[in-house]
């Protein structure tokens, strides 16, 4: 174990932390809106639209992220038309290509999570909302979406963690995020274990923080479960009596 090297690697990899977080954060933010859109398209009763959305999801979930990144970063430059278009300043930059690929990728995965959440809302509630005279937008905003999010949150937490890990692939297109820096240091020093351990500490910490944060949000969003949890500690008979009172 070369502890000097580890001490040296720590600040260097720390420099990559904001890049990793920005890649994950921006693409998760943009990908979420994309995902809600795709989920709604997939649930459309108009066949061609839902088929199109399904195709998008199928392709992005069925191919490796690396292919998607390379296709966008290296592939788009093949066409004269793209190189001369207004898109080129964006597609030329490794940074934006990584953001684009990660956004499309998480959009596809997240749309399935959200779709599952939307489908989990009991149909009776939607009927009731209709009977109350709510229009489609209001039904979605007040009834479907809040419950869908709550249902989808645990799975979405996994997706966030997957995305944090996926940002490491941006290092293959020259971006110096944490894995990119680690890789560079490993090939200079040939001491993989030390550098791996330092980088692993950063990733594990990030993942741990996210897991805690998601658990907290889940706790906040589920007041019913929260009540049950606090009640657990109390005398059961009083709780039962309280319940009887309310009823």
């Amino acid at each position: 174990m070369d502890f000097n090297l580890m001490a040296e690697a720590f600040p260097k990899i720390l420099d990559g932390l904001p890049v990793t977080m920005a890649l994950a954060g921006i693409s998760l933010f943009l990908g979420f809106f994309l995902a809600v859109g795709i989920a709604l398209l997939r649930l459309s009763s108009f066949r061609p639209i839902s088929a199109l959305a399904y195709g998008f999801v199928y392709v992005f979930r069925g191919t490796p992220l690396l292919v998607q990144i390379f296709l966008i970063y290296y592939g788009t430059g093949q066409f004269e038309a793209v190189r001369e278009s207004f898109l080129w300043p964006v597609l030329r930059e490794a940074w934006w290509c990584a953001i684009l690929a990660l956004t499309l990728n998480t959009g596809a995965y997240t749309s399935e999570i959200i779709r599952g959440g939307i489908l989990s809302v009991p149909f009776g509630q939607i009927e009731a909302a209709k009977a109350c005279g709510m229009n489609a937008l209001m039904r979605f905003r007040r009834i479907v979406f809040p419950q869908a999010i709550r249902q989808a949150l645990p799975a979405y937490g996994n997706e966030i963690i997957l995305m944090i890990k996926s940002t490491s692939l941006a290092s293959t297109i020259t971006l110096l995020e944490m894995t990119g820096i680690a890789r560079k240091m490993i090939s200079q020093t040939y001491k993989p274990l030390e550098i791996f351990l330092i980088a692993a500490v950063f990733y594990l910490t990030l993942v741990f923080v996210v897991t805690r944060a998601v658990a907290y949000v889940e706790f906040r969003l589920n007041p019913d479960r929260r009540a049950a949890r606090t009640a657990k500690g109390k005398d059961l008979t009083t709780v039962a009596a309280l319940g009887a009172d309310v009823r």
Partner: protein, 237 residues
Amino acid sequence: MPEWMQLLQWGDDGWGDEMVRGMLMTLAVACAAFLLGIVIGMFGAALKLSRYILVRFIGETYTTLIRGVPDLLIIYLLFFGGSMAVMAVARVFGYDEYIELDAFAIGTIALGTISGAYATEVIRGAVLSVPKGQIEAAKACGMSRFLLFRRIMVPQVARYALPGLGNVWQLTLKDTSLISVVGLVEIMRQASVASGSTQKPFTFYLTAGILYLVLTAFSNKGFGLAEIWANRGVRRA
């Protein structure tokens, strides 16, 4: 389109046969890693279900570390560290030359280690979902531990684990693309070699994507059929 066909011709003039060979290599490394992953997963599940806290801790550390760190980083570790570990062992036996591990071996070990962590969780869950009463009943019938394992546990654990292992397979299959960074000539590597020499990256990465889609689609179908087969004796409401 005709240009595409021309680039992907079979034989010396095109890259068709090379790409298909890359696809077979992807499939080979994915299968080897998946099998290794299942073996590791069985040991991992045994560790995590052990009654000794220290043994459980080892299993816990393994799965947490592997699942919390990017796969690419693990591959780098094994790519740079794997050869060195072998060389260190060789040095003990008085062999001082540089040894380089085969890219296929490194790829299999790296992906096997990764898929092993996910397989551990799947198998552990499957073991826990075998009803406890059955195990008690088997013991009451006087079955030895081995017989209980073979007749009661294995058939049911395999069935419960199948959907989860299908996911692990998909993950492993897609992760093989990362092995291209260590030089194994699979789909991705072949595509980047071809696009380097023809200056047609879009064509070749798109082809690579289609080949991956073919692999994932077929194996998805395969796992679906396997699930139907494994559940043929299960009554459904």
